[in-house]
Symmetry: C2
Subunit: 516 residues, 2 copies
Amino acid sequence: MAQHRHGNEATVIYSIDPRTGDPREAVANATDPAELDTSCQRAKALAGVLEALGREGRAGLLEAMADALEERRPSLVPLADAETALGETRLNGELTRTAFQLRFFAQVLRDGAYLEATIDHAGDTAMGPRPDLRRMLRPLGPVAVFGASNFPFAFSVPGGDTASALAAGCPVLVKAHEAHPATSIACHAALRAGAGAAGISPEIIQLVFGVEAGAQLVRHEAIRAVGFTGSLHGGRALFDLASTRAEPIPFYGELGALNAVAVLAGAAAQRPAEIANGLAGSFTLGVGQFCTKPGLVLVPSGTAGDGLVGALAEAVAGLQSTVMLSPRIAEAFASGAAALGSAAGVRILAEASPPGPATGSAGRPLLLEADAGQFSGVLTEECFGPVLVVIRYGSDAELSELIATLPSALTATVHGEESDIERARPILAAFEARAGRVVWNGYPTGVAVAWAMHHGGSYPATTDPLHTSVGATAIRRWLRPVAYQSLPTGLLPNELREPMPGETIARRIDGKLSLS
Amino acid sequence: MAQHRHGNEATVIYSIDPRTGDPREAVANATDPAELDTSCQRAKALAGVLEALGREGRAGLLEAMADALEERRPSLVPLADAETALGETRLNGELTRTAFQLRFFAQVLRDGAYLEATIDHAGDTAMGPRPDLRRMLRPLGPVAVFGASNFPFAFSVPGGDTASALAAGCPVLVKAHEAHPATSIACHAALRAGAGAAGISPEIIQLVFGVEAGAQLVRHEAIRAVGFTGSLHGGRALFDLASTRAEPIPFYGELGALNAVAVLAGAAAQRPAEIANGLAGSFTLGVGQFCTKPGLVLVPSGTAGDGLVGALAEAVAGLQSTVMLSPRIAEAFASGAAALGSAAGVRILAEASPPGPATGSAGRPLLLEADAGQFSGVLTEECFGPVLVVIRYGSDAELSELIATLPSALTATVHGEESDIERARPILAAFEARAGRVVWNGYPTGVAVAWAMHHGGSYPATTDPLHTSVGATAIRRWLRPVAYQSLPTGLLPNELREPMPGETIARRIDGKLSLS
């Protein structure tokens, strides 16, 4: 627990060592209501400034922020490791990804197609004369971002929500996650330095602390949308706050998922060891602390499936217990895993070595098995941490039926061979209806920052099935369309003028998409 | 009131004559819960069928529906007039628009860019190898549509929500508006006939009746999104139902707006009579029963403004009272207009001739005036019907301040001359922050069906600031992204294959938008 409350004193935010569970030092006070209001008003005042920078100005801002983060790599990575125990190798990679993501949104800005600039010249139609109409996307206004515990860089203060919102032209207020407050402060300082280097007010990105400040942020009239990565419970509570405002605002919550993997008959027969090792690596990656962790694998019954499950059990038994992100997360995992293990019809197939006496809040990888008929209740819910449930299915029809009962997820994975292609069609159709990303012969835990990525899904994977929190289109969450009717050229945004000043972007003109 | 409840009897839906207020005949029973569930399950079962038709198949469906509507024009228009009193000229135009809109979405389908098809080939990145990723939009599933009272065709059963949802590939359940149930049934029959002619199950569009059935529809697990056009009160109640579901769903409510018009000094001096007549026509068009009706006009104080306001008062005094859509709407307008007229500091500038003794539920056009300092409370809210409030402003600075206090709206209109361009900049900036469409030297009541149209805005204009209910991008409301990772070509949707079978669409490949 990062927050301790003492009577009427200000709530103090401590940096905690997950390897011991001890508070290391007090790093901040919870943001009080007056401070929060001031921050929101400041963000509101800066919204116009950020938009007026233009696409090139904001691209430069994002690149300067990426540079500032990488300059501070030697201090940021050890600090994040001290607060998350994720290890320097992983955190170095995550920082690289985070800087790449900021630069990627600079590319998206320069490309400009994200604006959906559209021009319909005045003309006659079946319904009479139509005026000149021009439409493009404009920033929504100040945005609140809730950093996640499990990616102290990539889904936290300098992460995808912040990068895409700043790219859109929206000032950002980040609610720092309690699991890494010192890292949040250091990342915030880096982003502010980047803004300063780009000649832009550092106040376009602000940091707030504390659960109550987070709730106040979601309710504040200046805040126009919220990005959140975290638990179903916490995300739903904030979604409810956003939706019950006098003036409701969009809430983009990425809440995690079960992320089922189906192994088809041919794949189980031909690649049992490869799939077993791949799965063992995927569900324990980062101590199972990925939103895309596979929590369920559907394996055919019979000899081939037996071989795969045997190899999986062997791989899990050979693993170590590892320190989780925080004592609270380790406790939640322990009780979640115990509930799964004691659910009706569930058998324990394998456990990793227990943690040593000095290992602190470790998560012990766990492999469970249940019959298809027992798949309900707690087995259908995400358990955050290194646990994987194996379900054996008797026929392709039974597999399809099982998939139809799954909740929506961020991902769905199918392993199949050439010989499985035809049986894969109905399986994929069932999965597509309830998953944001469909993976073939891979593992769901990698989420590339790319134009074609989608990281989303229907509830409970997210609170908004139309949007993504990773990839180029993540910017769409912070933009609203505006149409201009018969405006004089001098009063139009540059991207809607003819000829367009500067480098042209993709635009739709009189119904035809044009690249120049 | 179209619904009458008699103890335990089934609720009967009557067609009402707005010219007399009398129920003409019973045309339907309210849909009971079991029927509603059956309808929803049927829609769910048909979702795959509609998507499998492909873009060309659905384009053909929409065109067949447009044909079927136009074939029935000789019966549909008089029927709609009997239930709405909107007059055959207007209703003929509205039916033309509605058929045009169905055909327009056929064009959007053939164009295909709406799918946002994106391909990133496998390759190396700064973060290591990236798998093949392909993303496009897929239909959300069955959709509920709530028809509006004021457009019995264009925003009702065969309207934009239905057309865009079917185009997306989503089966539609329309909750018929109580103000035109017979028209709803006849339009539904036309759409079913169109589906039949195209060889598609007519059940892809279903009709339900009754307020309780509407609420049940929004809560039904099979329904994946809701489109609504209507009042703030009714829309917010349904939005709340959609948001508090165990599994919340997107709710796109278009709730109307104040739609302010600002007349700048140069325009007031140069075109007083033209603007006065234009405004009088716009706020009384369709008896003021437009979501885009201008409810507020900001006019400079001084001689030029006096001239404009005088001409406006004269124009209004010369108008007639006209029958409104329903007795309930006429009553609501009468009480809303009375509340406006008796608000502090409000003066009555002009009223149209009172209705004759046989005119039934008429709306009497009303022009009010208030001082800028009195602009608050009821004056800031939409009053559905032919009333316009004039506010006089003393300076451009006062005008900007007034605009900053306005609620969000579907439209904002500015009248200006060449000499007003510079003073218009801050005015437009203030308006853009809170309106979906900005109109220059026009009137907001026409909403063209076009690629560049946006019909939306922030709350309370709509419940979702990112989306539009008119124009090509209205289809985006019913689509969710899916990413495919490393899928064999044979398992990909056509639009993500290389080469793409059939006519190519715009796609983004390895970061570059490509038209072929």
